[in-house]
Symmetry: C2
Subunit: 158 residues, 2 copies
DNA sequence: TCAGGATAGTACTAATTAGTACTAATGATA
DNA sequence: TATCATTAGTACTAATTAGTACTATCCTGA
């Protein structure tokens, strides 16, 4: 039985990224790209967190985030705040700047969603997103734990 | 009702890409990356096609393919053949080189699939992949036709 | 208390992807 | 049949992402 999962997902990611990017432009959001949007989106639900935690939430590697956060900081959307307790840690904090952004971004997200789910019943959507979450959990568990059968179990983060 | 679809899909793409890439390495496929693999995968089901058709099948833009095909040609996996009929067209044709590759690649794909779908019933998988295809179709229809309500309808390809 | 390992973050490089702008060839129509 | 839009493909640039290698800090146990 041949499965196409990863192949289809890669395609969806590409196409939806292109569309989303164009939609943002049409809403005069020139400053934010889809990739940056995803990072802000994660911050909107839990602000003021260290980078490695943001990496966990976005499934991006911390090296990726360093670059992206540089850009978001330069455009004034976030600031880096040293965490008093642990001097290695730096907290990422949203600024006032994206208060307006947030509203528009939600609208575009909603438009994206209704485009994706055209012809779906509520139930189908629930099922589908449930499966997505399950798969993502499978993948993350594998990646972090390496799903090692019994050996070592040191849980290397990177 | 808030939907997470695109956010989840982006994450899946990232994580699965990292895992897939590592799996390929573990199977001593150093020459082929996941992205190149997806292109070859598309060719395996329909060889000897022009670039714009390959773009359709992979959901990649033709500019992307130009670059990727350069690499695949350099490593000897494909050749570019002028299409006699229309002198603008160039057909992409597989070489003998990936006869062996194909076997290993299928194994890795299968491993990926069973990892993704761990804990799924056959029925759930069918449903899920069905939904994926439906969403992808929605997105592609929108992107190519621009889903324009009634106006012009010129169907710009790019 | 201090030595070794783990953790937080960054710099640098490379791969993947798309957009803009181009050339060459084809087709449609006036 | 001359013109003009369309189509096929490419060059160049820029954004996103991750890997490797590094520094600084923290924690643990001998």
């Amino acid at each position: 039985m041949r499965r196409y999962g990863a192949f289809l997902i890669a395609q969806m990611h590409q196409v939806s990224g292109r569309i989303f990017s164009r939609m943002l432009k049409n809403h005069d959001i020139e400053t934010i790209s889809p990739a940056q949007g995803r990072i802000l989106f994660a911050l909107w639900s839990s602000d003021d967190i260290p980078i490695h935690e943001l990496a966990e939430k976005t499934s991006l590697k911390k090296t990726t985030l360093t670059t992206m956060l540089d850009a978001l900081q330069a455009s004034g959307h976030i600031i880096r705040v040293p965490s008093g307790a642990d001097r290695r840690k730096i907290h990422i904090r949203l600024t006032d700047k994206d208060k307006q952004l947030r509203e528009t971004y939600s609208q575009v997200s909603a438009a994206m969603a209704s485009l994706c789910y055209e012809g779906f019943s509520e139930e189908e959507i629930e099922l589908f997103e449930g499966s997505l979450k399950k798969i993502l959990a499978n993948l993350k568990r594998f990646e972090s734990g390496k799903d090692a059968p019994a050996r070592s179990r040191r849980g290397k983060t990177q």
